[in-house]
Symmetry: none
Subunit: 220 residues, 2 copies
C-alpha cells in the first residue's frame, strides 16, 4: 500500500497538472482529505506537516491550506510518471496476444485457477473485491502462457497500476453496471481459453481492454 503522504503529493501533482490547482489556490480541508484519501486525520495532518515544512503549502487556522508558488514550480520540474493512458496502451499491446498464447498452452490447472478468479469476480458486488479478482484473473491468464519473462514484464506493468492516480481513476469510473459488463467480457475470454481458441481469446481480450480503456479514459 502507498503512504498517505505519497497519495497527497500525487493529488497535488494531478491537480496542478490538469490546471484545477494553481499557485495560491485553496486545497480541500483536512476533513475533506480524510474522506477523499480514506485515511485518519492524524495521518493527513502528518502529511500536511511535511508539505508545510517543505514549503509546498501554507496553513492558517480558520482559513484553510493553500498551495505555494514553490509547489507548482516543483511539479513543473518533476518528470511525468506513467499515465493511465500509457498503461492501457501497453495492456492493449500485450494482453491480447498473451491470451492467444494461453489458449494454446494452458493446462487444466491453469484453466481451473482462471475459472476460480472469474467466478469470484462475478460474485463480487463491491469495488474493492471486484478489482482484486479482476487483477488476479488477468494475472492468471498471463501465468497460463507459461513464460517467466512474460510474467516479469506483466509485473512491471502491474507495478504501475499501483500508482495512486490509477486507483482513483478506477474508483471514479467504476459502477455496478460496468462491473457486470466487465464480468461478461471476462467470461467470453475464459470461454475462448477453455475452447482452446487462440484467435477468439485474443479478440475477446482486445474487446474487453478497449472497453476498459474507453471507460477509464473517456471515449475518443
Amino acid at each position: 500500500m502507498i503512504s498517505v503522504e505519497q497519495s497527497l503529493r500525487s493529488l497535488l501533482v494531478e491537480g496542478t497538472r490538469n490546471g484545477s490547482l494553481g499557485p495560491g489556490s485553496k486545497l480541500p480541508t483536512e476533513r475533506a482529505l480524510v474522506e477523499r484519501l480514506s485515511a485518519p486525520r492524524s495521518a493527513v495532518r502528518r502529511a500536511l506537516e511535511v508539505l508545510e515544512r517543505d514549503g509546498m503549502v501554507v496553513r492558517h487556522v480558520g482559513r484553510g491550506t493553500y498551495l505555494t508558488d514553490a509547489a507548482v514550480e516543483a511539479v513543473r520540474a518533476a518528470p511525468a510518471d506513467t499515465s493511465p493512458a500509457e498503461i492501457m496502451q501497453v495492456r492493449l499491446v500485450l494482453e491480447p496476444p498473451v491470451a492467444a498464447l494461453a489458449a494454446r498452452v494452458a493446462t487444466q490447472a491453469d484453466l481451473d485457477r482462471i475459472t476460480q478468479c472469474l467466478e469470484r469476480g462475478g460474485a463480487s458486488d463491491e469495488f474493492e473485491a471486484f478489482e482484486m479478482w479482476d487483477g488476479r484473473l488477468h494475472r492468471a491468464i498471463a501465468e497460463a502462457a507459461h513464460n517467466g519473462l512474460l510474467m516479469n514484464m506483466f509485473d512491471v506493468m502491474n507495478a504501475s497500476r499501483q500508482l495512486p492516480v490509477w486507483g482513483s481513476l478506477k474508483r471514479r469510473t467504476s459502477s455496478p453496471e460496468r462491473r457486470r459488463c466487465y464480468h461478461a467480457e471476462h467470461t467470453a475470454v475464459v470461454e475462448a481459453l477453455r475452447d482452446r481458441d487462440p484467435e477468439g481469446a485474443q479478440v475477446a481480450m482486445r474487446r474487453h481492454l478497449e472497453n476498459v480503456a474507453d471507460n477509464l479514459l473517456g471515449r475518443h
Copy 2:
C-alpha cells in the same frame, strides 16, 4: 514440511511480484500472520527476526512491520533463467504492435535516430558491431512509441538478452549472409515507419522476428 520462514518469504515474493506489496508497504501484523500461516507467533517472530536481520523488513512497536526497498529489489533481481525461446516469444508478442504504434506517433527526430541505427548496422560487417546497432535499432523504434512504461518493459526484456546463453546462441547462428538478410528486413520496417504505415510496420517487424527466431532456434 516447509519452514515458517520459507512460507513467509514466498508470501513476500508473491506480494511484490503481483504488485500488492511495494517498497515501504505495511505487511500483515504478527497476529494476522499467525492465522494466515497457521503457525505459532513465536515461529512467525523468529522468521521476522531473520528477515529484519537481512534488511528485508523493518519493525516498529505500535506501528507494524514494513517492507524495505532492498526487499523488492532483491525480488526484482531474482534469478530470471529465461530461455531464448521465451525471449523470442515475448519479442514476437511485443515488438510488432510497438512498431505499429511507432509508425503513428514517431517524430522526425525519432525517425532520424532510427535511420542512423539502420545505416550503421548496414555498414557493419562484423558480428559485434552489427549486434550493437541491431539492439539500438530495436530500442529506438520502441522509444519512438513514446511510452515510458513500454520502455521499462522493453528494458526488462533486454535484461534477459544479456544472459550468456543468448550471446553464444547468437554468435553460433550468425553469418554475413544472415546479417545482410536482417538488414534488408530492418530496412523494410523502417520504410514502413517513414511511410507512417502502422500495419506495414507491424507485418514487417513480425516477419523479421519470425526469421530471427527460426535462425536462432531452428525451423519448426
